[in-house]
């Protein structure tokens, strides 16, 4: 290879590596800000902000969805399979909301440690299958 070409090739390599390193450091520094939501363990451990809105993500605990009163208020527990947080929400739930499904809720903790949600989004997982297959995977009771 001609020296001029070699030099340009090295220069390109340096640019790509340099930008890569810069991006790595920047992303490391802002790692917490890039998290779209806090896990329930974070919230129980007190890592979540106390006085402002934040997002909480987790699985809806089976059998925890209750509708106290006759309104649209719904109460359920979220879990990351370690710690649970109780969530209250009044509003219309997305299609994919169901027990055992992952969701992301935006809201605040009240002084009783209950998360009062203003918005609930469903977080679907990476599994796709026909209903018959899903049925056959369920544990036989």
């Amino acid at each position: 290879m001609k020296p001029a070409r070699k030099q340009r090739l090295y220069l390109i390599g340096l640019i790509v590596i340099g930008v890569g390193l810069a991006a790595t450091f920047a992303l490391q520094a802002f790692n917490d800000n890039l998290m779209y939501f806090f896990s329930t363990t974070d919230v129980v451990a007190g890592k979540a902000p106390k006085d402002r809105l934040f997002r909480l993500g987790g699985m809806v605990v089976d059998g925890s969805v209750k509708r106290p009163g006759d309104g649209i208020l719904v109460q359920f527990k979220l879990t990351d399979y370690e710690k649970d947080v109780t969530v209250e929400y009044s509003g219309i739930l997305p299609d994919l909301f169901r027990e055992g499904q992952g969701i992301v809720a935006k809201g605040k903790l009240n002084n009783k440690g209950v998360f009062v949600a203003e918005e609930v989004l469903a977080k679907h997982d990476e599994n796709y299958m026909p209903p018959e297959v899903a049925d056959s995977l369920k544990p036989k009771s």
Binding site: Y36, F37, E119, E126
Partner: protein, 252 residues
């Protein structure tokens, strides 16, 4: 260059010659178009008719047959563009420069389609059109990178200079590609994790997977066809004063 077998090296050497490239791609494109057409019909029929509805999402999941191949292509085309741009920078091969810039608008279109289909699906499924999570945001940045490349190329009159400027921008933007790919693993996102590229086995039933793979190949062919068409036009414009283009124009 001894690692590359001689016939392959000879092929690329020949392809770097503009008149040869023009003639060869002119013969290639009809063949590719027929294969593309067949694959798209098979893939869409498989995805929209044969594949069963999803156990959670029902029929809405079918948007993945457009969304996922577009998203894959948005990353793939960017890498091709950056590599071709880099080759153009180092070896000053005109055709590499042309392949790079001809990829930009096709890639931008794929990125746009991935963003729009995701958004349309997100409203009923997630409950929102858009969120600023790591996956969606980095994919949006990819669209801006493509648009930046197209804009920068158009802003510089001398196309050889423009190609060099564009190649540097494309190479700087390459850092975004692994970020998009791994965003769903590195950070909590609303977007789902990887389904197909999981190391063990894909978490999608085979009856739903095959049409998606057919569509992925179809989209790849579409990219090649669209990119080559643009490259041929760009080549003729750049070489308009050369003898082979004059001969070509006289023969029409």
């Amino acid at each position: 260059m001894s690692i590359i077998p001689k016939p392959v090296g000879l092929f690329f050497h020949k392809m770097a010659s503009p008149p040869h490239f023009y003639r060869f791609t002119g013969r290639l494109i009809p063949w590719l178009s027929w294969i593309f057409l067949i694959l798209v019909v098979v893939g869409l029929y498989g995805g929209l008719v044969l594949a069963p509805a999803d156990y959670q999402q029902g029929d809405s999941f079918r948007i993945i047959y457009i969304h996922v191949p577009s998203a894959w292509m948005s990353l793939f085309v960017y890498v091709v563009m950056a590599v071709a741009g880099g080759i153009g920078l180092v070896w000053r091969i005109k055709l590499a420069e042309i392949v790079a810039i001809s990829s930009a608008s096709v890639g931008a279109a794929f990125t746009f389609i991935a963003l729009v289909t995701g958004s349309l699906w997100g409203k009923p499924m997630w409950g929102t059109w858009w969120v600023w999570d790591a996956r969606l945001t980095s994919e949006l940045i990819l669209l801006f990178l493509y648009l930046g490349v197209i804009g920068l190329y158009g802003a510089i009159d001398d196309k050889r200079t423009a190609s060099r400027a564009v190649a540097i921008l494309a190479l700087v933007g390459v850092v975004n590609i692994p970020i998009i790919h791994y965003s769903v693993e590195w950070w909590n996102t609303l977007h789902q994790g990887p389904t197909v590229s999981k190391m063990d086995k894909p978490s999608i039933h085979i009856s739903m997977l095959w049409p998606m793979l057919v569509m992925a190949v179809a989209f790849k062919l579409y990219y090649v066809i669209a990119m080559l068409q643009r490259a041929r036009t760009e080549l003729v414009i750049r070489e308009r004063n050369s003898q082979w283009v004059k001969t070509l124009l006289e023969s029409i």
